[in-house]
C-alpha cells in the first residue's frame, strides 16, 4: 500500500521512470554528448495585478537557429488556481507539469483536502532537482515560474526557480527565458517609476502591459516569437484570481493587442 500518499512514489512502484535522471550515467560535456542545441529560447513573464496574477508567454519553440513552431504552449495549467510557465526543455517541462497536475489532483482526492501551497511548491522543487542530471547534460534544464492564487492570504503569488530546484518568491513580478534579460530592467523600472505599480493595474492594463513586454523581448531575442498577422497566433495569456484560472480569450487579446501594442494606447 502506498503509505507516502504521493503519486510520484506510487508511479515509480508501478514501473514509471522519471526521464530526468535517465542520462545520469553519462559524464560527457553537453556539446560532445549532444552536438545540436535543444529548444530553450522563450520569454515568460508573470506580474501581480489588482485581482491576482497575469502570466504570459510567447509561442515560439526553437532549436539553435531553427524555429520549430510558433504555436507552442509554454504556460501550462496545473490545477484550478495554478499554472507553471516554462523556459528550458519542453519535453521535461511538460513531463514535470503532468506529474504535478496529476499529483495535486491525486492528493486532493486521496486526502480529502487540497494540497497546501507550501507542499505544492515543494513538489515542484523536488521535480526540478530530480531533473538535475538532464540539466547537467545541457539538454533538459527546466526553469519554471509557478503562479497561483493563495486562497488563505487572498492574493496571487509568483514563484520562480533555478535549475537546482531552489525556489524564490518574486513578489511583484518574475520573468524567465532567453528574452527575459531584455525586459527585466524595464519591468523593474515600470513597476517602480512607471506612474502606477503593477499591483494597481486592472486586468486590461495588466494584459496590455504583458503583451508590450513580450513584444519588447522579441525585439532583442530571436528565440522569442511575436504576433504575426499571417499566422494570427497570440501569446498565451492567463489570469489567476480568487475565481480561479482563466485563459484571456483570443478576441480580448486581439483588441488589447491593437490598443496597447499597435496603437500605443493608454499608459
Amino acid at each position: 500500500m502506498n503509505q507516502g500518499n504521493d503519486l510520484f512514489d506510487l508511479l515509480k512502484e508501478s514501473g514509471y521512470r522519471f526521464p530526468g535522471g535517465a542520462l545520469s550515467g553519462q559524464t560527457h560535456s553537453s556539446e560532445a554528448a549532444f552536438p545540436f542545441r535543444p529548444t530553450e529560447g522563450t520569454t515568460i513573464l508573470a506580474l501581480r495585478y489588482r485581482d491576482g496574477v497575469i502570466i504570459a508567454g510567447d509561442r515560439r519553440a526553437t532549436a539553435g537557429n531553427a524555429v520549430i513552431t510558433d504555436r507552442a504552449d509554454k504556460v501550462i495549467d496545473i490545477d484550478e488556481v495554478s499554472v507553471m510557465a516554462i523556459s528550458g526543455s519542453p519535453a521535461m517541462a511538460y513531463e514535470i507539469a503532468r506529474i504535478l497536475g496529476h499529483s495535486f489532483q491525486y492528493h486532493r482526492r486521496r486526502q480529502l483536502q487540497e494540497m497546501s501551497l507550501e507542499a505544492k511548491l515543494r513538489r515542484l522543487s523536488l521535480l526540478v532537482r530530480d531533473n538535475l542530471p538532464m540539466a547537467m547534460q545541457g539538454i533538459g534544464a527546466v526553469i519554471p515560474i509557478f503562479a497561483t492564487y493563495d486562497l488563505r492570504d487572498g492574493r496571487g503569488k509568483i514563484f520562480f526557480y533555478d535549475a537546482l530546484g531552489a525556489q524564490f518568491e518574486g513578489t511583484d513580478f518574475a520573468t524567465t527565458g532567453s528574452g527575459s534579460p531584455g525586459i527585466r530592467g524595464a519591468m523593474y523600472y515600470l513597476n517602480r517609476w512607471g506612474g502606477r505599480p503593477f499591483a494597481e493595474l486592472d486586468q486590461e492594463e495588466g494584459v496590455g502591459l504583458g503583451l508590450r513586454l513580450l513584444f519588447t523581448a522579441s525585439e532583442h531575442d530571436a528565440a522569442t516569437g511575436r504576433y504575426e498577422r499571417a499566422a494570427d497566433v497570440f501569446p498565451s495569456v492567463k489570469t489567476i484570481t480568487a475565481g480561479g484560472l482563466q485563459d484571456v480569450p483570443v478576441d480580448d487579446l486581439r483588441r488589447i493587442y491593437g490598443d496597447f501594442v499597435e496603437q500605443g494606447g493608454p499608459r
Binding site: 500500500m1 502506498n2 506529474i99 482526492r109
Partner: protein, 269 residues
C-alpha cells in the same frame, strides 16, 4: 491449518464468515445512485462522517460498512485510477477497470483467504460516460461479486434492501428528472432500503417482501431518519465545464427537499 484440509470445514468456515459479515453490515445506511437530467446522483444519510467520495474525474463511490475497510477500498480505487490516468490518459480511466481489476479481485481475495480478515463493506460506484448520456453503476459485494447496471443502483446492508430500493427506483424514468426531483426520489428509495434493513423478520419469498414493501410507510421511515441523520449527496454533473465532474451538494440545495419531510406531521398525531 487443519481446517483448510477438509472441504466441508472450509465451506463451513466460509458460511460462518458470510453470517458474520452480513450481521455487521445489516444495519448500515443504504446508498442510492441514479441518473438524472444532468448526470448522476449519489445519496446517503449518516451521522456526519463522509460516505460519498470522488474517485476520478467522472467516477464517484459510496459504501456501506466498516469505516476503515471503506477507506482502504476508496484508496485502492483512487490509486488504480490515478496510475492509469497518468500512464495512459484521463480518458482511459474507466469504472469497469477499477471494478474488474481492482476492487473485485481485492475483495474476493480477502474474503476467500480464511486466515485473513475480509472487507466488511459493500461499495456502489458510478461513472458518467463520455460522450453520451449514459451512466454506469457497479455494486461490489464483500465477497468480490459485482453487478453492473445502468440508470440506477442501490446498495443496502443486505441484498433484500438492494431489491426493495431497486424496485422503488425502477418505477421512475429518472433520466428525465431535475436535480430536486431526483433528490426526492433518492431520499424515498433510501428510506425504502432502510425499512427493509430494519425488518425484524425477513419474508422467505421475494414476492412477500415486494408486497410488504409496497405497503411500507416510506415517508414515516424517512421522517424518523431525518430527525437524527444528515443527508449527504454528490453529483457527477455533465454540464460542469471542468474536466472534473464531481461536486458535493451544498446543504442549501438539499434543504428544500428535506424540509417537506421534516415539516410534515407524523401520521396519527
Amino acid at each position: 491449518m487443519m481446517m483448510l484440509d477438509e472441504p466441508y470445514r472450509w465451506a463451513e468456515a466460509v458460511a460462518n464468515r458470510r453470517d458474520y459479515i452480513e450481521d455487521q453490515l445489516g444495519s448500515g445506511s443504504p446508498v442510492v445512485g441514479l441518473n438524472y437530467r444532468d448526470g448522476a446522483l449519489l445519496l446517503t444519510l449518516g451521522r456526519g462522517q463522509q460516505k460519498i467520495f470522488e474517485v476520478y474525474d467522472r467516477i464517484a463511490m459510496g459504501a456501506v460498512g466498516h469505516p476503515t475497510d471503506i477507506e482502504k477500498l476508496r484508496q485502492a480505487a483512487i490509486d488504480l485510477a490515478h496510475v492509469i490516468g497518468f500512464n495512459y490518459s484521463e480518458a482511459d480511466v474507466t469504472l469497469q477497470q477499477i471494478v474488474h481489476f481492482g476492487l473485485g479481485p481485492a475483495m474476493k481475495t480477502a474474503f476467500d483467504e480464511i486466515v485473513r480478515s475480509p472487507y466488511i463493506a459493500r461499495v456502489l460506484l458510478v461513472e458518467l460516460e463520455d460522450p453520451g448520456k449514459a451512466i454506469v453503476l457497479y455494486t461490489v459485494d464483500y465477497d468480490g461479486g459485482f453487478l453492473r447496471t445502468d440508470k440506477q443502483g442501490a446498495l443496502g446492508g443486505i441484498p433484500e434492501a438492494d431489491r426493495v430500493m431497486q424496485r422503488y427506483l425502477a418505477e421512475a424514468d429518472t433520466g428525465r428528472l431535475g436535480l430536486r426531483d431526483a433528490l426526492d426520489l433518492a431520499l424515498r428509495a433510501w428510506a425504502a432500503g432502510r425499512w427493509a434493513g430494519q425488518l425484524e423478520e425477513m419474508p422467505n419469498e421475494a414476492s412477500d417482501l415486494d408486497r410488504a414493501a409496497d405497503e411500507a410507510d416510506v415517508t414515516g421511515v424517512l421522517r424518523d431518519a431525518l430527525g437524527s441523520l444528515e443527508v449527504e449527496a454528490a453529483v457527477l454533473q455533465r454540464s460542469r465545464t471542468r474536466k472534473n465532474k464531481f461536486r458535493t451538494l451544498a446543504s442549501r440545495e438539499i434543504a428544500p427537499v428535506i424540509s417537506a419531510y421534516r415539516g410534515s406531521k407524523p401520521a396519527g398525531d
